[in-house]
Amino acid sequence: MTDIAPPASRLTTLAAPTVRAGKLARIWRKTSIGMKICLAGFALMVLAAIFAPWLAPFDPDAQKLLSRLRPPLGFDRAQDAHPLGTDQLGRDMLSRTLYGLRLTLGIALIGSFISLILGTTLGIIAGYMRGRIGALIMGLVDVQIAVPFTLIALLTVALLGNSLPVLICVIGLTGWESYTRIVRAQVLTLSRLPFIEAAIAAGAPRGRILLRHILPNIASPLVVIWTMTFSALILTESSLSFLGLGVQPPTATLGSMVGLGRDFLASQPWIAIVPSLVIMLVSLQVLLIGDWLRDALDVRLK
């Protein structure tokens, strides 16, 4: 009699992989051509960032004063060795852009994981342990929404100096509140559903309910918010670096390259334009992917 119904957990582990693969294939079939191009383009960007040390023709910080301020290919005085031209110190723009992209994406990636973990943990706590702790967390969320983020970033950088770890932490503190809000709302709805009540009735411990029953069910919204925060983080990092509050020279990030290129805008516009276009392209791709994921995974964010 006892072996008629296998434990619920075994059922889900058996069923999960096939369901997942089928869902992914269905999503892929429904994806438009334009979206596939966008995904491929973003994959290219990520690959270029990962393999920057092997792809870059020059050391990004190596100065070559004899070939300063060369324009990209196709313009007068261009050099074949520098397809995107060189900057005011003769540094190769292609190499700097690749390394800058690498650093920008890297910072945004680590920062977005910090805010994902922080925001989700707080959201689960706020949703699961209502009462005083929950109210405190939601109060923090309200404060975070009300206080302009640029200001927090400015203050932190001014107080702690602008090293890379500080920058990453500052960026990691952006956007956690959207996870917290949505995760809490989801947890509140989910914990009223029969399968959670059943798990509680079956004597499952709290940790197990959170990790095995609630977390898989909030995965889709998490993925969607993660993509959206990621593009916001790229912009935040670029803006801080542009103001000179991010990574310090000579290290290149896309934002600091635009900031330095600003002084040569009238005569050598490519120094600012090349990294500007890369920032725009990457953040647009990430935004479009986020929007596509939201539709594809059928997530309603409120």
């Binding site: 404060v143 929404i145 009300a146 206080v147 302009p148 983020f149 640029t150 200001l151 400015l154 203050l155 950088v157 001014a158 107080l159 702690l160 593009s231 912009l235 670029s238 803006s239 542009f242 103001l243 000179g244 509050l245 934002g255 635009v258 900031g259 290129g261 600003r262 805008l265 009238a266 516009p269 600012a272 334009i273 500007s276 920032i279 725009m280 953040s283 647009l284 935004l287 479009l288 929007d291």
Partner: protein, 307 residues
């Protein structure tokens, strides 16, 4: 309602007190301002004299007490950098920021709300898609990238517009456009989503069934119900005025509050920085109160819920 408002105002006051205290101690603990005011290796006697002149030699508690006392008589200290009253500096700078932000907000609302409505009504059509594409590009383009591209085209190529300064209304045109694009994108998106939610409601079908013209159905019944989220986002934008202006002012040298605060941050000009933060906190608190009042004006049900 009054009860509720009083409670909110009290909460706002507490927020401001916390912000003032936190910022005061955070800035004092972060480093010695005298080091930023004098060249490195200067005479210790001069350093001590300067510290005494600005009261920086006293204990941090004493400094805090003096700062709070000064606040009540409208004395927010003297800028360590410019050696003049902080209030005076802000009074000089604030009009520029308000002008700039006013233009940008007007642009964003006047263009954004109608575009959002069109995008909702024509969800699958070419106009709707075109508007949402522009909104997406607005979201994805950082302020400084757009600013640089515009300076390049309109100042350096076409020579139509000045690239920096705040002398004439023409100087505000480019910064205002740059500032308004992300705000426009947000307003379009929120208006569209709010309208889509409302358009699916039964009472709109009823309104149409009563034989009301489409203009009344959309303009009155739908728009008024969609207004709450739109007012919220506009409120958040106004509350974030200074922060939003930082980059744009830094690029276009508008001489506003935003770049003042950035340079005060970099140069450890505590009094200026503190006043800037207090200003932002007051702005946030006041705007959220006004937005709450507006909710009640737009939607009478809010008034009932609040009391």
């Amino acid at each position: 309602m009054l009860d509720y408002l009083a409670k909110r105002a009290l909460g706002g006051l507490v927020t401001i007190v916390i912000v003032v205290t936190a910022v005061f101690f955070a800035t004092r603990l972060s480093g010695n301002a005298v080091e930023f005011m004098l060249p490195p290796g200067s005479d210790p006697a001069v350093q001590a004299a300067l510290a005494e002149h600005y009261g920086l030699d006293q204990s941090i508690w004493m400094q805090f007490v003096r700062y709070v006392q000064g606040m009540f008589v409208g004395d927010f200290g003297i800028s360590l950098n410019e050696r003049r009253s902080v209030l005076l500096i802000f009074a000089e700078r604030l009009p520029n920021t308000i002008t700039l932000f006013g233009y940008a907000l007007a642009l964003a609302v006047v263009i954004g709300v109608p575009l959002g409505i069109v995008a909702a009504l024509d969800r699958k059509g070419p106009a709707g898609s075109a508007i949402m594409t522009v909104a997406f590009i607005g979201y994805a383009t950082p302020n400084f990238v757009l600013a640089i591209l515009m300076i390049l085209v309109f100042s350096f190529q076409l020579h139509w517009l000045p690239s920096s300064g705040a002398a004439t209304p023409l100087h505000f045109l480019m910064p205002a456009v740059v500032l308004s694009l992300p705000m426009l994108a947000e307003i379009v998106r929120f208006t569209r989503n709010a309208m889509l939610d409302v358009l699916a409601q039964d009472y709109l079908r009823t309104a149409r069934a009563k034989g009301l013209s489409e203009r009344v159905v959309i303009g009155k019944h739908a728009l008024r119900n969609a207004a709450v989220p739109v007012v919220t986002i506009i409120g958040l934008q106004v509350a974030g005025m200074v922060a939003r202006c930082v980059l744009v002012e830094a690029i276009f040298a508008t001489k506003g509050v935003g770049d003042l605060i950035v340079f005060a941050t970099i140069g450890r000009d505590y009094p200026v920085l503190q006043f800037g933060v207090i200003l932002i906190a007051v702005l946030v608190v006041v705007v959220s109160l006004i937005v709450d009042l507006l909710y009640a004006v737009i939607d009478p049900r809010v008034k009932v819920a609040a009391t």
